[in-house]
Amino acid sequence: MPGSKTKTVVLISLLLLLVVMYAGSGIFSLQSGQRALILRFGQVVKEVSDSGIHYRLPAPIERTIKIHIGRVQTVFIQERKNDNFERFTGDENLIIIHALISYDIKNLTQFAFQATDVKPILQSAGQMCLSRELAKMTVDDAMTTGKSVLRLVIKEQMQQLLDEMKLGIRLISVELTDISPPEKVSTTFRNVSDAWVKKQEIVKDAEGYTNAIIPKSRGKASALILEAEAYSKEVVSAAKGKVDAFDRLLIEYDRNPQVITDQKRLETMQVIFNKCKVSIDANPKESMYYISR
C-alpha cells in the first residue's frame, strides 16, 4: 500500500512541522534600548539586555516581558496654579516651588513587578521631601542658596525612599525649576532686592567720596609742605643775603663809623618820611593833642 505509506509520511512531516513551529515560537528579537524579562511559569528566570535575536522556551512554559529602558523619564512636581499651591518655609513664609525629577530603571524586575505605576509614587515622595526640607529653611535661604542645596538633599532622600520601596528606579536628577514668592507678595520681594542693590550703590558712592577726597587732601598736604620748603629756603637765603650785606657794611663801618651811621640813618629817614605823614611844629605838645582827639 504505497498510497497509505505516503499518507503516513505526510502526516509525520506535518506533525514534525508543527513541533518545529511550536518550538520556533520561542524566538524573539530585542531592539536597542529594550530589555526583556523571561518568565518561566510566572517567575523571572533571566534578564536579556543585548539587542538582537534571542530564544526562550515556547509558551506557556516561558514568556517575555519587554521594557524600554534606554530613555530617561521625567516627572513634574508642580501644583495647579489656581490651587492653594504654596509650601511653608521654616519661618512660616509661603513660597512656590516646582521640581522636575528625571530617572531611569536600574532594576528591571523590581520596576516591572513592584508597583503598578511609579510616577505617582515619585511625585508623592518628592513632594514630601520638598515640604520637609523647605520647612527647615528660612525663606531667604530657600530663595538664594536653596536651589542648589535642596536639589542634592532631596535627590538623596528620595532615592533612599525609592530603594526602601524596591522600585528599581535610579534618580538621575532633581531640578528645582522654580522657587519664587507667591504672586501676591512678589513685588515686595522685588523691593527687597532693589533695596539691596540700592544699599550697594550708597556704599559705592561713599567709597567714591573717599576716593575723591583723600587724593585731594594729599595734594593739599604736599602743597603745604612745598610752600614750607619754599619759605624755608627764602628765610635762609634772605638771612644769608642780609648778613652778607651787613658784613660788607661792617667793613666800611670799621673804616669810618660816623659816616656810615649818619648815612644809614638818613637813608632810613628818607624812606620813612616818604611814606608817612609828617608835620613840623614849633610846639609839638598841642599838635599831639589835636591828633589824638
Binding site: T8, F41, G42, P60, E79, N84, E86, R87, E92, N93, A112, F113, Q114, A115, S124, M128, S131, A135, K136, M165, P182, V185, V192, K199, V203, A206, Y209, T210, I213, I214, K216, S217, R218, K220, L224, I225, E227, Y231, V235, V236, A238, A239, K242, V243, F246, L250, Y253, T261, K264, V271, K275, C276, K277, V278, S279, I280, D281, A282, M288, I291
Partner: protein, 296 residues
Amino acid sequence: MKKVILIISTLVAVVVLAYLTCTVIVTQGETVILMDFGKPVQQISEPGIYLKLPYPFNSVERVDARLIMLQPSPAEFLTADKKNLILASAICYKITRPVLFKRTVRDQNGLEIRLTDLLSSHTGLLMGHIELSDLVNVNPGKIKFGKMNRQLTELMKRDGKSLGIVVEKVFIKRIMLPDENRYAVFQRMKAERNRIAKKYIAEGEEKAQQIKSEADRTSRIIIAEAKRKAVVMRGEAEAEAMKIYSASYHKNAEFYNFVRSLEAYEKMFNRDTVIILDEKSPVLKSFFSRAKNAGK
C-alpha cells in the same frame, strides 16, 4: 504506525487539555485566588505553576499585588495650638491577602473610602498633639515632621493588616493653610519684606556715613600732619636764619643793633603814621641851622 500517531496525538491533546483546565500560572506581582464553587479556598502569591481542579470545581481570580498609590483629597485639621491646617497625604499600599480584602471592603473603591477615612481620623488625632512650629521651624531639631509621618505610617500599617493590605508608606505631601489664614501670612510676609528693605537702606546709609567720616578723618589727619611738618620746617629755617644773624651780631653788636633798628623802623612806620617833628629836632638840624647861621 497509525497507532503510534494516534497515541501521540491523544497524549498531546490530553496535555493541552490538562494544561488549560487543571493548572494555573501565578506571575510575579500578582496573587491568585482559587475558588471552590465561588468560595475562596486558597490564595497563592509565590510565582509558579500550580495544579487545580477544572472548572466549575475550581475557578481562578487574579489580583494585582503591586504597589498602588492612593491620593485622597486634602483635608483640614486643627493643631494643638488651635490653628487650621490642611494636609495633603498619600498612601502607598499593596493587596497581599485578597480574600480578606474582598471580605472586608469588597473592592478597590471600598478600600479607598475606608483608607481615606482612616487616614483622616489618624491624622486628626496626631495633629491634636502637634503645633505648627513642630512641622515648620528653622531649627531642624524641633521639627517632628518625620516622627509624625512615622506614627501615621505605623497606624495605617496596623489598620491595613485587617483589610488584607500592606501599607508600604504614607507620605505627608504638603501642609497648607485655609485661604483666610493664607492671606494673613501674605500680609505678614509683605510687612517683613518692607522691614528688610528699609533695613538694607538704613544699613547702606550707616555704612556710607562711616566710610565718609573715615575719609574725612583721614584727610584731616593728612593735612594736619602736613601742617605740622610745614611748621617744623619753617621753624627750622627760622632757627637757621637766626643762627646766621647771630653770627653777624657777634661781629659787632652795637652796629648790628643800629642797622637792625633802622630796618625795623622802616617796617614799623606806614602810610597812616603821623610823625610830628619839633622844629628843634636834630633831624631837621641841617634844615634850619644853616638858615639860622645865615640869618646872623
